[in-house]
Amino acid sequence: MMFETLDPLLHSELRLAIISILISVEEADFNYFKEKTNATSGNLSVQIDKLNEAGYIQVEKGFAGKRTRTVCKITPKGVSAFERYVEALKGYLNLSGSKD
């Protein structure tokens, strides 16, 4: 039985958390991710950049008053990657379940 490999871009705690949040909302900003993941700004910024470079999310930088505001949205490519990731996860979990 063949299993799809888990997407390495999503198989990381913080990046998976970011994508999981974005899959269930329209858009979220940097501070929201910080609040929900308790990650440091530096790390969060790096992981957002990686997801953006892969085309999984779309990042818009703007202003809220005088402060900068980074808003992220998931792209159709990101949605497909997430769906494939969940399908692959199900495959692995079924396998480990059948072993028990």
Partner: protein, 193 residues
Amino acid sequence: MEEKNLNEKESLELISRMIRNTQQKLEKGNGAPFLIWGYTTICVSLIVWYLFSATGDPRWNYLWFLILIIGAPVTFLWNRKQVKGVKTYIDKVIGYIWLAFGISGVIVSSVAIFFYWPLPILFIIVLLMGTGVVITGLVIRFKPIVFAGLGGILLSTLCLFVKGVDSILIFAAIFLVTMVIPGHILYYKGRKQ
């Protein structure tokens, strides 16, 4: 949270936890648009009623557009001030619902006022807004809003039975029930949470 690899079970738990965390709670801000449009409509109605009763001049009907002139920019400025970290699908859907109802309301009012069509305009507006309130209540799953909207729909028929300038007072009273009271309830509930 760090950049660490997870096993399959941890991945699934993380996905569930994050999705659960984004579930929308009522926020005090949800009540503000109801209060902005509700109070603006009531104030403009009372002004039109007073001037129309005192002079009998139908040109005072143009003042109805003050609702749009005041309500739209105040809502826009209020939205800009609200820096919410997240925008959910519910926020987006509610925005579209009110955009659609708002456009319908403006078209119907404009046709009635500019083309002198004898439409039962107050009845139509209350019916439209009551329907918008019911849908909003159902989407955010908040019963007081649903009941307020239903009340508005039922009470809208009063605008058909009460004739003349006093129907404007009925119109204002219905807006109090349909928008202002639920707006305060929503604001209060949101603040408590």
